[in-house]
Symmetry: C2
Subunit: 476 residues, 2 copies
């Protein structure tokens, strides 16, 4: 009998966490002696509907990947034996064996608000290196940015009440749960239920009890009391297993017995009309002087339901949010792409773009410049060429040089603080969950001019990508 | 400078891949000497909108987890030092140190069609064990079942044309990409682009080239030719980088030069009006006797677009599907839940249920019986008690006994074959992507009677869950 497979990602197999075509293209470049320096930018063509901004996230895991990526003997063996690679020369596999990512990487720091067309990441390296890292970078940045952006909306809707991530069970597999916990915290959540995120990242943990706990005892009284005995300093009671109001009265009696020394921390509602029930439960507690007992609510919550509850002043202190946040349920994918924007040819940097219907993008290495008014509120962003002196605060910073990380990696709380600050710079109208107006991202004149010339060159010539002789600096 | 975190799941940290409350409840049960045998069932209360069936998937990774789950010293240390566990006695941490999952597990085999309310998995063990495994089991079964079910729809829409999973870059992190590749294959896809899924599972790999490859050379001719030289037996050309029709003519000229020995395998369209373009490209190829060159199409495809293309006889041989399939974009979460249905009390098995508004479910250990007509087409399922002799084919089988796997784990092709067979047993009207009619899942009389009695007992008594004296067998 064979053993079951874990399908964990490990140092041994990480080289294979990619699409087949990245390795065939790598072999193709290698065998054709194409080793030009290339620059790729990772960006989102359009914000998902219902999103007015993104919160950049996932850079740390992207850096981990680029710093540690190796091709193990087992991985190389698998590639070599694959029928696609029959005609690939042995030297390519030697290349893979010695492979280290040695490129330069610029990025918008995690926790920064960003918009469509703005490069979240820019990678400059030999074209083989840039190509090999594409799939993993996209899956890492796309997902965490998606979730941090969704979480930021949920947190904004909660208007200062705590939001806790409860989503691990509905995340897209075990690792997605941990990555989502990280991204939710970046987006402003105050805690997570995911223990591994707690240990690895220091995110505060939150948990109450399941219905099964209540059902495992003969009475709710007993279930509550038994839990309290083990966790006297940190008990939150789930009161809706049979009847929420009855549950609230039972919780109230226990809380009164505990009194002020071992204060009952909270009760949780997980079903029914949360507005009505939270009001009734609050009254039951307050009438007994238990104003310090918090009310937590959960159950298919998202930013719209929370917005409604908050507008109606539901006395809910903590929202536990799961499925909708960790899958970004209304928009479960971020269409981040990774595009070749510049290629060194004969020592000169040549801008690149493609002309596929509806899929054009701006060529060359770019920078995002953010402009604010005198009170610090953003007025607009400007997408320009790297090194333009057009004013504004440049957002992309160098994070990796020749394969080495050159920044002090911020802690998760620094990233979260940055997100809080960055979101608070947004004009108010973009912070509403119903916002639909797009934020203004202008293009610099130099960038528009370069795009025009590149496009004309492509359309006017039989050559697909003529060397246009640009003014941008060479990359080496 | 600290090192970046991978956030990989490993044998060392797997004990922490769970929600905080699973560990607090475990400590609570332990300290209160509650070690009854409990049975939990994992099921979906309601199918997601737009789904007429599920394809069970993820069991192998669930079994891997239950078989290998341990709490490392580092994990135990973290739990012990966490403020929530201040009052938890040392014996609980000894218990964790020796922990192995020793329960019995029944499951609907992977690749089997299933419906709402039907247990996909049933776990019987000490209540601590059943509780500790909840989060991981849910995240594993929920996700793979979600994706296999989505993939099955895409494959049905393609009406016999190949469907290849291209979604890794948009999956919810690197591991989700591998898990999705597995689930897509279970659901009927013919290949994946994910190399790790290729090596670990033997799923056939598929890949073409990226736009960046085409853009890296001065002309499309050169880009195509250079690729062909390295991969003469396996070249698929991406022809839409600048202009699809021009690209098709260039591909045609290369294919004619190659001739019949090194046949060009395929061309790929990734943008524009796929119906019109595939028709024009097919004609360009056929007019040159290149009827053997296949046409592959990709670009934001889902079952609805593929259904439309297939109905209109678009000459597309292979669909490359990414984002929409690996995130199950229209329904990105499966609401699988894991509920206590039976608890041993004084040597007798007592059925359990909860009464939360709109969240009731059937108590006790259940089995699913599938009924078919004389031609093998399913007529309905019957949800009944385990061991009922009501006819039909029972779907849940014992997969684990005392923590040991007791089945020969099927290979991925066996699972896929089972899915093909199981889906073909569905009445035609459920195999249409527009199907909305729900499949009939009846409840056995004995099950309805048990539910009635359990509910009456709960509502009529102050005790939350009175021992009702049932007729089900004891669990020990």
């Amino acid at each position: 009998m064979r053993e079951p497979k874990s399908l964990f990602i490990t140092d041994e197999n990480i080289g294979l966490v990619t699409d087949l075509y990245q390795l065939t293209m790598a072999a193709g470049y290698f065998q054709n002696n194409v080793d030009s320096t290339a620059t790729f930018e990772l960006f989102v063509r359009k914000l998902p509907e219902g999103r007015s901004f993104l919160v950049a996230a996932g850079l740390e895991q992207a850096l981990h990947y680029m710093k540690t990526l190796k091709f193990s003997d087992g991985a190389i063996d698998y590639v070599r034996r694959h029928p696609s690679f029959t005609n690939v020369k042995a030297e390519f596999f030697d290349y893979l064996r010695d492979f280290r990512f040695r490129g330069d990487v610029w990025a918008i720091p995690e926790g920064t608000v960003a918009f469509a067309e703005e490069p979240l990441l820019r990678v400059t390296a030999s074209i083989i290196e840039t190509q090999l890292v594409e799939t993993y970078l996209l899956s890492t940045i796309n997902f965490q940015t998606l979730i941090a952006s969704k979480a930021a909306r949920v947190v904004l809707a909660a208007r200062g009440r705590d939001v806790s991530d409860f989503g691990s069970r509905r995340a897209h597999g075990p690792q997605a749960g941990v990555l989502a916990a990280r991204a939710c915290y970046v987006g402003g959540c105050t805690s997570t239920s995911n223990m591994l995120a707690g240990r690895e990242l220091g995110i505060p943990l939150m948990g109450t009890m399941a219905h099964s706990w209540v059902m495992a005892f003969d009475t709710e009284e007993e279930a509550f009391h038994r839990f309290y005995e083990v966790f006297p300093k940190n008990t939150a009671l789930l009161i809706d297993t049979y009847d929420t109001i009855r549950g609230a009265h039972i919780a109230k009696r226990l809380a009164k017995r505990l009194g002020a020394t071992d204060r009952l921390r909270a009760v949780r509602l997980d079903s029914g009309d949360l507005l009505r029930l939270s009001g009734e439960v609050r009254k039951i507690l307050d009438d007994s002087g238990l104003d310090y007992v918090k009310i937590m609510a959960s159950g298919d919550l998202n930013e719209y339901r929370i917005d409604e509850l908050a507008r109606q002043d539901a006395p809910i202190d903590i929202f536990g949010v799961g499925t909708e946040m960790v899958t970004s349920k209304d928009q479960p994918a971020l269409g981040g792409i990774y595009k070749l924007v510049e290629l060194e040819k004969g020592g000169r940097a040549v801008p690149r773009m493609k002309l596929s219907e509806d899929k054009v993008f701006y060529p060359s290495r770019k920078q995002v410049y953010r402009f604010s008014d005198s009170s610090g509120v953003y007025t607009h962003d400007l997408l320009g060429l790297e090194g333009e002196t057009a004013g504004g605060v440049p957002l992309l910073e160098r994070v990796m040089e020749k394969g080495e990380i050159v920044i002090d990696l911020p802690g998760i709380n620094d990233i979260r603080d940055r997100a809080v600050g960055s979101i608070s710079g947004l004009p108010l109208r973009f912070r509403d969950v119903m916002a639909t107006e797009p934020y203004t991202v202008k293009k610099s004149e130099r960038l528009e001019e370069l795009r025009r010339r590149t496009e004309e060159g492509l359309r006017g010539s039989n050559a697909a990508n003529p060397d246009l002789g640009t003014t941008t600096a060479t990359t080496t």
